[in-house]
C-alpha cells in the first residue's frame, strides 16, 4: 500500500475547472484550448525511498515518478477505470489463464522494443525473493510464486514477441484490474545488467523520461520531460514535470501560496482549516481510496468470543464519527460506511448491519452492559498509534468518545516511531493486547484489495489474526466469478459478516487534499490521490 492516494467518483469534481479531461483515452487527443504545451509543471514530491525500479517502489514519493516514466499494460483513468496502455488485449476464458497481447511498435525511450519479454523478465525479477523487491507480494497470484524460497514464476510463458500468457494459481477475476499498478511495469534488457545503476537513472516507456542522466538531484528534485516515443493515452499536454522534494508539507504549501509550485497533492495539518479560503476554487478536497480503522487484537483480554463481539460493537457505536471528522479534520475525512472506499466500483453505503457504524450512545451502553454480564470489564481501553504520524488528535477524540459514552477509562497509547509501532503490531511471540490504528490505501482500484489481504485467514496484512470460514469462502467465490457484478455481490456479502464481527472498526475515508496555483488548469486528481500530471496545462 502506498502512503496516500485518492479517487474521484464520476460526480465528485476536481474543483471548478470545467475543462477537466477524463483520462484522454485515445492516443491522439489534442491539447485543451490554447494550452501552452511547453510549460513545465512543478509539483511537490518527496525523495524516493528506494531506487526508481517499478518492483521496488511502494511509496508515493517514488510511485509518482515511476508511474510517469513507465507505462504498464493498462493505466487507470481518473475514476479508476483501466484503459489499455501497452496492452492490445487481455483475454481469459476461466479467470485463471490470461493471454496478453502487446501493441505493436512500442519502445522504451532509448529505442529498445517493449515486447512480451520486457514484461515477463521484469515480473520474474520482482518475484524472486533473492532480489528482495518490496513489491514482491504483488506477484503472489501467479503460478510458481513462493515467498519463502527463490523460485521462478512458472505461470509466465512467452508465446511470441508480443504475446505472453499468465497462469494464476487460482482463478482471480479482477487480475487485469491489478495490472496498472507500478509493480507490473516492463523493464528494458539493460536494466538487468546493473539494477543499482538503472535505479538511479531509469530508462522507461512512459509518457515522461528523465531530462538527463543527472535529472535526479537527490533530496532536491527530479526533472522529467515528455518521452516522444510514447504513443499511449497519457500523452503529455505540458513541457515536462518537475517534482520538487519537500520534507514537510508546510513548505510546499507556502510555495503554492507564493506561486513557486504549480500543483500540490497534500495540504499540511496547519492549513487544513484555512486552505479552502486561501485557495478558493483552486482547492481540492475529495474522497479517496484510503480507509482508516483501528483493530482490536484477538488476544486482547475481554475481546474474545461473544463478550468480545458485544464490546467491539459497543465501542464502534460509541464513536461519534461525523463530529470527529468535522472538528478534528475540518471535513477532510468522510465517516465510513463499509470496509472499502467510496471511489470504487462496488461501494455502497447501505450494507445491512452497517448501523453499527452509526453513533448510538444508548445502544452502545446496552451492548457494553450485556458484555459485562458475561465477564465484568476491568482495566483501560487503549488505542496504540505511532507518534511520528498525525494521529494524536483523532486518537484522543476517539478515546474520549468511548470514555464518555461507556464510562470506562480510555486513552491513546503512543509509540515513538512507525518502525516501532509496526514491530509491536506484527510481533508474533508477544501479540499486542491493546487496540491499534490500522489503515489501508488501495494499490489498484478494486474492493478486493481492501478486503482479502486484511481479513482472509492468514492473509499477509491480517494484523488482527481474524478468521471466519464464511468470509474466506465468499472471498474465494468472488475471486473466481467471471462476472464483475457477481464478484461485487460476494464482496458485499462478506462485508455484511465483517460488519457483525468487526475484525477492524471502520472510522473514516481520508480525502485527498491539494491545490494548484493561478494560471494552471486541467488539474484532476486520479482515483489514487495522485494528480494526472500529463493532463495539466499552464499559461
Amino acid at each position: 500500500m502506498k502512503i496516500r492516494r485518492i479517487g474521484v467518483g464520476a460526480v465528485a469534481l476536481a474543483a471548478a475547472s470545467a475543462l477537466v479531461l477524463t483520462g484522454c483515452s485515445s492516443g491522439s487527443s489534442t491539447p485543451a484550448s490554447t494550452a501552452n504545451t511547453t510549460a513545465i509543471i512543478t509539483t511537490n514530491g518527496s525523495e524516493p525511498q528506494n531506487p526508481l525500479i517499478p518492483t521496488n517502489t511502494n511509496e508515493t514519493g517514488g510511485g509518482k515518478i515511476v508511474d510517469s516514466i513507465f507505462a504498464g499494460l493498462v493505466y487507470y483513468d481518473a475514476t479508476g477505470k483501466p484503459i489499455n496502455d501497452m496492452a492490445d488485449s487481455i483475454t481469459t476464458n476461466d479467470s485463471q489463464t490470461y493471454t496478453i497481447k502487446i501493441k505493436a511498435n512500442q519502445t522504451f525511450s532509448d529505442g529498445e522494443a517493449v515486447d512480451a519479454k520486457s514484461f515477463v523478465d521484469a515480473w520474474q525479477y520482482g518475484a524472486l525473493t533473492s532480489n528482495a523487491q518490496v513489491n514482491q507480494s504483488f506477484f503472489a497470484p501467479i503460478e510458481g510464486y513462493n515467498d519463502a524460497a527463490s523460485s521462478p514464476l512458472t505461470g509466465l510463458t512467452v508465446v511470441d514477441a508480443t504475446t505472453f500468457t499468465v497462469k494464476l494459481s487460482a482463478p482471480q477475476s479482477d487480475f487485469p484490474l491489478q495490472l496498472g499498478y507500478t509493480a507490473f511495469d516492463p523493464l528494458p534488457a539493460n536494466a538487468f545488467k546493473d539494477m543499482t545503476a538503472f535505479g538511479q537513472n531509469p530508462i522507461g516507456n512512459g509518457p515522461y523520461k528523465l531530462a538527463s542522466a543527472s535529472a535526479w538531484q537527490h533530496n532536491v528534485q527530479i526533472d522529467l520531460v515528455p518521452n516522444t516515443t510514447y504513443t499511449g493515452g497519457r500523452k503529455p499536454q505540458n513541457g515536462g514535470v518537475t517534482f520538487k522534494f519537500y520534507a514537510q508539507a508546510d513548505a510546499a504549501y507556502s510555495d503554492l501560496q507564493a506561486n513557486n509550485v504549480d500543483v500540490i497533492d497534500e495540504i499540511p495539518d496547519s492549513a487544513i482549516s484555512t486552505f479552502t479560503n486561501d485557495l478558493g476554487s483552486r482547492a481540492i478536497n475529495q474522497p479517496s481510496a484510503v480507509f482508516q480503522s483501528f483493530t482490536i487484537g484477538t488476544s486482547a483480554p475481554h475481546f474474545q468470543g461473544a463478550e468480545g463481539l458485544l464490546r467491539r460493537q459497543a465501542i464502534s457505536e460509541a464513536i461519534d464519527r461525523p463530529t470527529i471528522t468535522k472538528v478534528i479534520f475540518n471535513g477532510t475525512r468522510t465517516p465510513a460506511k463499509d470496509f472499502t472506499s467510496p471511489v470504487l466500483d462496488g461501494y455502497t453505503d447501505s450494507l445491512s448491519n452497517n448501523s453499527v457504524l452509526t453513533y448510538n450512545a444508548d445502544d452502545a451502553k446496552k451492548l457494553w452492559a450485556k458484555a459485562d454480564a458475561i465477564s465484568p470489564w476491568s482495566g483501560t481501553f487503549q488505542l496504540a498509534y505511532n507518534a511520528d504520524g498525525p494521529h494524536q488528535a483523532w486518537v484522543d477524540a476517539v478515546a474520549n468518545s468511548v470514555k464518555n459514552v461507556l464510562g470506562i477509562d480510555a486513552a491513546g497509547a503512543p509509540t515513538p516511531t512507525f518502525a516501532q509501532f509496526r514491530s509491536l503490531v506484527t510481533d508474533k511471540t508477544k501479540p499486542i493486547e491493546t487496540a491499534f490504528r490500522t489503515g489501508w490505501q488501495a494499490d489498484y482500484p478494486a474492493v478486493s484489495d481492501f478486503l482479502t489481504p486484511l481479513y482472509a485467514t492468514g492473509a499477509s496484512s491480517n494484523d488482527g489474526h481474524f478468521s471466519d470460514p464464511a468470509v474466506d469462502a465468499l472471498f474465494t467465490k468472488a475471486a473466481s466469478e467471471t462476472k464483475t457484478d457477481a464478484a461485487i455481490k460476494d464482496y458485499q456479502d462478506a462485508q455484511v459478516i465483517l460488519l457483525k464481527d468487526l475484525p477492524a472498526i471502520p472510522l473514516w475515508y481520508s480525502n485527498v487534499t491539494g491545490g494548484y496555483a493561478t494560471g494552471v488548469s486541467n488539474v484532476q486528481f486520479g482515483w489514487n490521490s495522485v494528480p494526472l500530471y500529463y493532463a495539466i496545462t499552464k499559461g
Binding site: 502506498k2 507480494s137 508546510d250 516501532q420 490505501q441
Partner: protein
C-alpha cells in the same frame, strides 16, 4: 604552536571512535524494525524481511555491524542508505549547503550583533540601548519556528521579496531569509554579551589611561575596548557556529533547505544506522575543528594567552 595543533588533532582520533561506537549503539538500540517500516501498513513475508535484513547487515550482532561499518569507512565507504545511495554522496551533497547557510547566518549575527552591542554598551542607558534591549528580549523569547513562519509568510508569500523555500542548488540569495531567521536569536544573545563586555571593559584602568594619554576615541573604541571585549563573544560565536553546522532542523524543514538537519531527521525517523552515524561523526569532527580554531583565535585577540607545548 604546531605541536599544540598536532596534539589537539590527535585527540580527535579517540573521540572519533568513541562517538561512532556510541551513536551506532544508540541507533542499534532504537526499538522497532526499520525494515517493517519500509512496507507501510502492509506486512511483508518473513523471507523477504530476512533477505533485506541480510542486505543491510541487520541480522548480525551489534559488534559485527559496527566493525563492518568502521571497516567500510577506512575504505572510503560510509555505507548505503535504504534508497540505495552511498552515504558518502549524501554527506558531500548536504554539508556544503548547511555550511553555506551557517556562514551566512554567522555573518549576519556577527556584524549586526557586535555593532549594535557595541553602540549599546557605549551609550549605556540611552534610548538606543533601551530599544535594543527590548528588541533582543522579544527575539530571545520567540521560538524559532514562529520567526521562521512569520518571516516566510511576510517576506515570501505577501511581499514576494524572497523565495518561500530554497530553490535548486541552494543559491546564496535563497539562503538569506533562512539565515536571517537562524541569526535572529543568536543576534540577540550577541548584542547582550557584547554590550555587557564593552561596559565592563570601558571601566577598566587601561581604557582610562588611554583616554588620559590623549588617544582619540576612534582609536580607543576599536583597538582597546572592542578587542578586549570580544573573547566571550568569540567563544559564543564558535559554539553557535557548531550548533548551526549540526543542524538547524526546524528552520531547514520550514524553508525546505536540503541540508544536514533535514536529512538527519529523516534518517533518524527511518532508523538508517549508517546515515545517522556518519552524519553525527562528521558533526563531532567539525565541532572539534571549530573549537580548535577558536582556541587559536584567543591568542590573536589577547597575546597574553599562550599555548603550552
Amino acid at each position: 604552536m604546531a605541536g599544540y595543533i598536532l596534539r589537539r588533532l590527535l585527540q580527535a582520533i579517540p573521540v572519533f571512535f568513541g562517538t561512532t561506537f556510541l551513536i551506532y549503539f544508540m541507533v542499534f538500540a532504537m526499538p522497532g524494525d526499520p525494515i517493517l517500516a519500509l512496507f507501510g501498513d502492509k506486512t511483508p513475508s518473513p523471507a523477504l524481511v530476512a533477505q533485506l535484513r541480510a542486505q543491510y547487515h541487520l541480522d548480525q550482532p551489534f559488534i559485527v555491524q559496527y566493525l563492518i561499518y568502521i571497516g567500510g569507512i577506512f575504505q572510503g565507504n560510509f555505507g548505503i542508505s535504504y534508497s540505495g545511495q552511498p552515504v558518502g554522496d549524501i554527506l558531500l551533497r548536504t554539508f556544503p549547503v548547511t555550511l553555506r547557510l551557517a556562514v551566512i547566518a554567522l555573518f549576519f549575527e556577527t556584524v549586526f550583533g557586535i555593532v549594535v552591542g557595541l553602540i549599546s554598551g557605549l551609550r549605556k542607558g540611552k534610548l538606543f540601548d533601551a530599544s535594543s534591549l527590548v528588541v533582543s528580549l522579544i527575539l530571545i523569547s520567540l521560538p524559532i519556528f514562529v520567526i521562521a513562519f512569520v518571516g516566510q509568510y511576510v517576506f515570501g508569500v505577501q511581499l514576494g521579496w524572497a523565495r518561500t523555500t530554497v530553490g535548486t542548488g541552494a543559491p546564496v540569495q535563497d539562503l538569506i531569509l533562512p539565515a536571517l531567521v537562524l541569526a535572529s536569536i543568536s543576534f540577540a544573545q550577541i548584542v547582550r554579551l557584547t554590550r555587557s563586555s564593552v561596559i565592563e571593559t570601558s571601566g577598566l584602568d587601561f581604557v582610562r589611561t588611554a583616554y588620559s594619554k590623549g588617544l582619540s576615541r576612534n582609536r580607543i573604541v576599536p583597538v582597546h575596548i572592542l578587542r578586549n571585549s570580544l573573547i566571550p563573544v568569540v567563544t559564543y560565536l564558535a559554539t553557535d557556529f557548531g550548533v548551526l553546522l549540526v543542524g538547524a532542523t526546524v528552520t531547514e524543514g520550514i524553508f525546505n533547505v536540503p541540508g544536514v538537519g533535514n536529512t538527519l531527521y529523516q534518517a533518524i525517523i527511518r532508523s538508517e544506522g549508517p546515515t545517522v552515524v556518519s552524519f553525527v561523526t562528521v558533526m563531532v569532527l567539525l565541532y572539534l575543528i571549530v573549537n580548535l580554531i577558536v582556541d587559536l583565535l584567543y591568542g590573536l585577540l589577547d597575546p597574553r594567552i599562550r599555548y603550552v607545548k
